[in-house]
Amino acid sequence: MDPIPENANEHCPGPSSATAGRAEGCAGCPNQEICTTQASGPDPDLPLISERLHTIRHKILILSGKGGVGKSTFTSQLSFALAANPQTTVGVVDVDICGPSIPKVMGCENEEIHRSSNGWSPVFVQDNLSVMSIGFMLPSDEAAVIWRGPKKSGMIKQFLMDVDWTNSEPMDFLLFDTPPGTSDEHLAVVQLLRQSGITGAVLVTTPQEVAIQDVRKELDFCRKAQVPVIGVVENMAGFVCPGCRGESRIFYPTTGGAKKLCEDLDIPLLGSIPLDPRIGRSCDQGSSFLDTYADSPAAQAYASIITKIKELINYSPE
């Protein structure tokens, strides 16, 4: 169910109910127009989506209220790390429709989507790692996607309904890289996955309060949308100068950073990743940072976070 807006009338039937906007209690509600113009009732495509996705064991959302904290970087490194085991199959859905970065950070920028009788085939980065992004459908990387909410939601639905993710084989992970905020794309993913189930969300933040405060909003969203929270990753925590090895904190955790946030809200802190310029460079080149710089402190932080996530969701490769 969509959360009931705070300014709704007392007998609100819920914005996603069949009678939204038309029930008796809707008269005079400030949201009535929005509810009546939106498609109401349960989405007839939901069973089709759960049919498509039923062989996928874990569906994980990568969220963050704020932009530029490293959601796409984290998603790509998590997928590379999971797919390092040849037995594990991983898919990545880029639901950031206006700013798709996944093709670039995963090194599959100029690929194209192929169509088969089973639907769209995702782009395979490795035998066991496939990717879907609107980036593959744009004429050039400069083309802007100037779409309003409903069109973006429609695209996301196609990613889930029309893409042949699994070829009916079992799949271990489907990771969702999301845009910043708590709006159309997020609601679309949560609603479309309602029947097939979401394993949980990993929230990415940076240590400063401006980012933490957006993450609190995102946690509030998870609570309202009933998405389980796996934990929080603190990115860009501290910077070690490659020249003198001196450490500085660029994004200063004035309010205690992610540690305090997790303690206050009683959610797991998955770990802190230091700021390493080579992570950004790996992303620009679309390669796996964990493979290239396995000994660096940042790679070790990543590895320990990924182990923790596997533990928290009880994943063990078969």
């Binding site: 959360p3 929005i34 113009t37 209220g65 704020k66 932009g67 530029g68 904290v69 796409s72 206006c98 700013g99 970065s101 670039k104 990387d141 400069e142 083309a143 802007a144 996607v145 100037i146 779409w147 309003r148 909410g149 409903p150 845009p179 910043p180 905020g181 708590t182 709006s183 159309d184 609601l187 940076t206 400063q208 309060e209 401006v210 405060q213 957006d214 609190r216 909003k217 946690l219 509030d220 969203f221 309202k224 949308a225 910077f239 100068c241 490659p242 020249g243 003198c244 001196g246 500085s248 904190r249 660029i250 994004f251 200063y252 004035t254 700021l275 310029p277 950004g280 992303c283 620009d284």
Partner: protein, 293 residues
């Protein structure tokens, strides 16, 4: 379009309307907006900042105005002012939320309505500049702002980027958005361009280098300047008391030491190294806007 007439009335007393855009999140749109506003206010202009990032409003925290309320006057919503002389005011959904943790889970149409209300109902009075801080992307909020402002010819957009390639492709999208909707691009700021280590003064390019200037040349838009990461600025935008001059380079600050204080964030900002760069950027911007009129 009777609904838009109030937007027109509000904008009649505002000389320049500038949007701050970027396709990518976290490149520093809000911090650049704040710095442009502080620089312009310091140069004697009257400035308003409108935050239309409805799902992640950062402007209240950055100006140190968290927890403030918006007052309703007969003329409309009164902006929250940063300084006692009321040279710099701002408006954000952050002031309307019950708590700072509350999420705004809204779809497009509701966000559009809020933006329209901001443009129509806020009593800015006489302003030299209205800076509009936007969320990342090219979607509802951007279309709404451009649509409601269209008839009153907004001056254009300042684009913010960071130098790494991943950001540049999103920013190209944003520039093409501006072309498509007919919004002039006033220039591009290359933000987070390098970080000077406080220990050894060596500059590390955290997010690659030179990307912004190259992009500006490639897209044939003016390049406004390059701003490195300044830990003092990060601290100033973070700390709750904006009258304390930040000193992020001191690894072991003495808690009992007398803190250097100022009268408002406009003055504190002048103690940050970055203020010089943004003073130059805002002067360039002013010249550009004046030559247009």
């Amino acid at each position: 379009m009777s609904g838009n007439s109030t937007v027109g009335e509000r904008l009649a007393t505002i000389k320049h309307v500038v949007l701050v855009l970027s396709g990518k999140g976290g490149v520093g749109k809000s911090s650049c907006t704040v710095q442009l506003a502080l620089s312009l206010a310091n140069q004697g202009h009257k400035v308003g900042v409108l935050d239309i990032d409805l799902c992640g409003p950062s402007i209240p925290r950055m100006f140190g105005l968290e927890g403030q309320q918006i007052h309703q006057a007969s003329a409309g919503w009164v902006p929250v002012y940063v300084d006692s002389e009321k040279r710099l005011g701002c408006m954000s959904i952050g002031f309307l939320l019950p708590s700072k943790d509350a999420s705004v889970v809204w779809r497009g149409p509701k966000k559009n309505a809020m933006i329209k209300q901001f443009l129509g109902d806020v009593y800015w009075g006489d302003l030299d500049f209205l800076l509009i801080d936007t969320p990342p992307g090219t979607s509802d909020e951007h279309l709404a702002a451009v649509e409601y402002l269209q008839e009153w010819n907004p001056d254009g957009a300042v684009i913010v980027t960071t130098p790494q390639e991943v950001a540049l492709s999103d920013v190209k999208k944003e520039i093409n958005f501006c072309t498509k909707v007919g919004l002039p691009v006033l220039g591009l700021i290359d933000n987070m361009s390098g970080f000077v280590c406080p220990h050894c003064a060596e500059c590390t390019n955290l997010f690659s280098t030179g990307g912004g200037e190259g992009l500006a040349k490639y897209m044939k838009i003016p390049f406004l300047g390059r701003a490195p990461i300044d830990p003092n600025l990060v601290m100033l935008l973070e700390q709750e008391d904006k009258t304390v001059v930040p000193n992020a380079n001191d690894p072991n600050p003495d808690p009992d030491a007398e803190k250097k204080r100022t009268s408002s964030i406009v003055e504190t900002y002048q103690h940050c190294e970055l203020s010089k760069i943004f003073a130059a950027i805002s002067k360039t911007l002013c010249e550009k806007l004046d030559s247009k009129h």
